[in-house]
Symmetry: C2
Subunit: 215 residues, 2 copies
């Protein structure tokens, strides 16, 4: 059965692949699962039909027959658990992959989102400039710890997994800030993720949506 | 094999059960798995021995034979997947439970942690008072959406699950703020979680650590 995901009709990232549908597209490409995309506008996202699928009025969602999911982490996990290619063999190695999935979304991403929100929602506030160093420090602390753990390995725990997929997409949110580049192993790690053919196909697919809507 | 978790030797929440070991204790109590606890000081958490277990220098960790995990979400998921009692029957229902686990930790918890951090780390800043309404509005928006989805159900999707366990512990971080109490169904939902015998046992166990260290 071909799953259908939702994505922004007009992505606020202007085709940079930073919206959370990119994670799901990438996971689907890694496992070789074809999928359909339904584009939703900002207005539609807040209406009952979409809220029935996603109570927080966001994208992506994932529909596959009777199953409807939201939360990019849960969707990637579902794809990983129902296809080969994103989870290692062995119960212990799989459990460790979950650790990295949650670390990406509950430890690394929140201070990055906080920094993004300050830029979008508080840039006209009198405290904006004064708070930036504090927000940057929180992020750099986490990046330093992540860099220390990664060391000179290619991926966080053995072969590329759903944990790396989520972590790379989270770190990409910092592109242009220079914060990841301060850690050469993290910078190479993100580049390694982006060089994967499945990443490229996913990136091109989301870019095509943006190009078509602005062509 | 008896797993060993780590918890604060001196919990900053002063025995209120808001530290993340509470989630793991509760999950272990729900499934009837005995466990051991190793207490770590703030100094020890930043040393190599603990960082080898938890690269971000936090608690809880989870050790079970050769397996070492961190991230409370991943640990609760591991417990749920290896014992009966925290996941529903059926692949689709299980996938939906993952959706609520990630929603608790990636959608509901981040704005709550942001608000907590402002209280702890920015209360002496000139912008502190002016930013509080903005932080509260972000949280209330999420709570309203969560309240709308929960409606008059007892739990988020069918029977009590690991998704409810994480969501209740996340909402408890707002205790004393009045923010959850503004939504009577969410308030009743949290009370329902806290009334579970397994919750009570877990709460008493973490409180005993605090009491012993301050007795």
């Amino acid at each position: 059965m071909t799953p259908t995901i939702t994505a922004f009709a007009q992505s606020p990232d202007r085709g940079r692949g930073l919206a959370r549908d990119m994670r799901v597209r990438w996971a689907l490409e890694e496992v070789g699962q074809v999928y359909e995309v339904r584009l939703v506008s900002f207005d539609e996202m807040k209406r009952p039909a979409h809220l029935a699928l996603h109570p927080f009025g966001q994208i992506p969602t994932y529909e596959e027959g009777d199953l409807a999911l939201f939360e990019s982490g849960a969707i990637v996990l579902h794809i990983a658990q129902t296809h080969a290619g994103l989870l290692p063999e062995g119960a212990n190695a799989r459990a460790r992959t979950m650790t990295w999935m949650f670390a990406a979304l509950n430890t690394i991403e929140p201070p990055i989102v906080e920094w993004e929100q300050a830029r979008y929602l508080e840039h006209d506030k009198p405290w904006y400039e004064a708070r930036l160093p504090l927000l940057g420090k929180r992020i750099r602390g986490r990046l330093e710890q992540l860099s220390n753990r990664l060391g000179d390995a290619d991926w966080l725990d053995g072969a590329f997994s759903a944990g790396d997929l989520l972590m790379v997409t989270v770190l990409r949110r910092l592109e242009g800030s220079g914060m990841v580049d301060a850690f050469s192993n993290l910078s190479a790690y993100v580049a390694r993720g982006k060089a994967r053919p499945a990443y490229q196909r996913a990136f091109d697919a989301q870019l095509a949506v943006f190009t078509a809507s602005n062509g």
